[in-house]
Symmetry: C2
Subunit: 388 residues, 2 copies
């Protein structure tokens, strides 16, 4: 059964939402019509903003019964050079705090109608994230702070969204980087957030330190260079009071790891991944005043990150393989895996779930994601079809 637009609008108290989000009511109704505010059936039933709308972030979710709103996680602006960008952006702060940017998927955890729910960046209730949040975080924090949202990175090998993991994590861990108010999205100051998390035994992302704004670019450069060849994604630089938006900055290793991943599935992911990352590489090389040898190595690394995975994919296809990516989840309840399959289906992903494997009191479920476009294009090109 499909829902008509007016039926969907009737599910919401438009006036109330209009007041809370500071958006005129007619625009909310219009967003439902255009599916910018998308209805998602299920338990719980909710709406999600597919895109930002005036000051409301994309990924903001509105729950129907009981009514609740969880603001989306704001996009963090990125800098391609550290100086003068940090000085310029944080001009009103005396100091900045530098934390690690981890390589996992962005998750928000909150209490909705008495239950803990795990939301993805897009504002979907994810059954897997929900099970993991219940297990990893528990209820204690929320019983005292029902109006706060824990924002963090889910990282580890049992990560079905961003599979390349390079941390020493057994299954999946939650690393907190923000605590925000449910409805306003307002964040707590960094040290207050850390203290609160420590109180409840909630793990935070790595804290590198608080630095004078004038020397922050030197400190960050050193941190990034010390990452060396170990795969750390990068850092997030924050106003300690969290009044200004944070800024992110990533390492060349991370840029290249992303490219290696994207070009394995080049016709699905390559195009979008490429351009921003190559810009980061160029500006970093200039800012670091690299000599010819460093530059040569950077070019080699970039070229290899792009071509080698593509060549590998073409060779695999030549040998008749299907181009897919295997990710995995680890669940206590098989029901969660079944719900997660539905969830990926809603997201429009082509995924094949393998038979669950019992490990201890959990089930490991391997999932094959099929990249259709890369499969088709590679196959037809090898068959001798022309590119027009």
């Amino acid at each position: 059964m499909r829902h008509g637009v007016s039926e969907l609008i009737n599910k919401l108290d438009i006036d109330k939402i209009s007041g809370l989000l500071e958006i005129p009511g007619y625009r909310i109704a219009g967003a439902i019509q255009r599916k910018t505010l998308q209805y998602v059936r299920g338990m719980p039933e909710f709406f999600r903003f597919d895109k930002p709308m005036s000051t409301v972030e994309g990924g903001t979710s509105i729950f129907i019964e009981p009514f609740d709103i969880i603001r989306g996680f704001p996009k963090i602006p990125r800098t391609l050079i550290l100086y003068p960008a940090l000085k310029r952006h944080f001009t009103s702060c005396g100091s900045v705090i530098v934390e690690e940017k981890m390589n996992g998927y962005n998750a928000r955890v909150a209490l909705v109608g008495g239950s803990i729910v795990g939301l993805t960046r897009g504002g979907f209730v994810c059954p897997y994230t929900t099970e993991k949040a219940n297990e990893l975080i528990g209820r204690d924090f929320f019983l005292e702070h029902p109006d706060l949202v824990l924002c963090g990175e889910m990282a580890g090998p049992d990560n079905p969204y961003v599979p390349k993991s390079f941390y020493d994590i057994e299954s999946l861990e939650f690393y907190l980087f923000d605590i925000r108010e449910k409805i306003s999205g307002k964040p707590l100051p960094v040290m207050e957030r850390k203290a609160l998390a420590d109180n409840f035994g909630i793990r935070s992302v790595r804290f590198f330190g608080e630095y004078n704004v004038d020397e922050a670019h030197h400190r960050v450069t050193r941190i990034i260079k010390e990452f060396g060849d170990s795969l750390h994604e990068g850092v997030v630089i924050k106003d300690p009071q969290m009044r200004l938006p944070p800024v992110k900055y990533t390492s060349t290793q991370s840029n290249c790891a992303d490219l290696r991943y994207a070009f394995e599935f080049y016709n699905d992911l390559g195009r979008d991944f490429f351009f921003p990352r190559v810009c980061r590489e160029a500006f970093q090389s200039v800012e670091w005043g690299e000599n010819e040898e460093d530059r040569r190595k950077r070019c080699q690394r970039l070229g290899e990150s792009i071509l080698l995975p593509m060549i590998n994919t073409i060779n695999r296809k030549k040998q008749g393989e299907r181009i897919s990516e295997t990710v995995q989840i680890r669940v206590r309840k098989l029901e969660t895996a079944r719900k997660f399959e539905e969830h990926l289906h809603i997201l429009g992903m082509d995924a094949v779930f393998e038979e669950p494997e019992k490990i201890g009191d959990e089930y490991l479920v391997r999932i094959k994601k099929i990249y259709m476009s890369t499969n088709d294009k590679t196959e037809s090109t090898l068959r001798g079809e022309l590119w027009s």
Copy 2:
């Protein structure tokens, strides 16, 4: 004075055009309305198809007074691998002819209302191409063959469209690769075309040979490999009878030269240039069964073609330079330079013409093309603005 749609439609005998191009009249009128069939004021006055429409190529021009039609030059499909693509595409031919694909700009030359006109790929009458066509080709051919169009590559240093030239040409030369009928676009068989051109002293692109279809992929591989580090763009492989569309194939040197060019102006050109070329590199590496060392070199070459020009651009901007490209034209009449300036303006290009320099009986005019997007993005990033 702007022209209304009905006024524009009145300039054309829609029924006649509909019959000649085999497109229903209402679709022609619709195309004028949507500006797919765009009116271009000037001497001569004409319409051009901005995009293909059913079987009519984009770049097809319709002249008003006297009435004439010159079909656009068809897009040549490309192959990323030679085997089995050539065998598959040319299955109905016993042999194929291989000619050089040159690095210049595609020009069509024809007689319209008693005058020789030079058209660009887009179907614009280009005043510069027109002057050069008059000078390089002359009228003899057209007096005997008023219904034929000479299609070829304008190459050399005085090329304002595609500036990187690597041939031993003093100013600009025309290299014929096709002769086609004006209205139908039907091409002459290759050897017939060559003989006709030779008769009139018209230079043709390099002819590599006619090969059995079954061994064509070996022959082309050898030709491409023998190009070595010398900058040849690639080859076009043709059905000798020209009943099947030709196929193009390019060298890694050419792919990388294009990338070096595009990434100098990365924010204007980089994104679109990148993806197709990197696909060509990957498939060629697989088809040639490269060893690790060859592959390493290819990656290095690719990485350097992308990053080094960008780094160079950022450094130039850091030193306060404006990011631009200098091209040049050489004309007998200053009037042609003035008209060419108008022509670039119609194309929406940001170009600054320098003072003409008299060389012999000609004028050399340098033209600075400004790449605004690359200038702005590089400047703002260096100033410390964030990328959102």
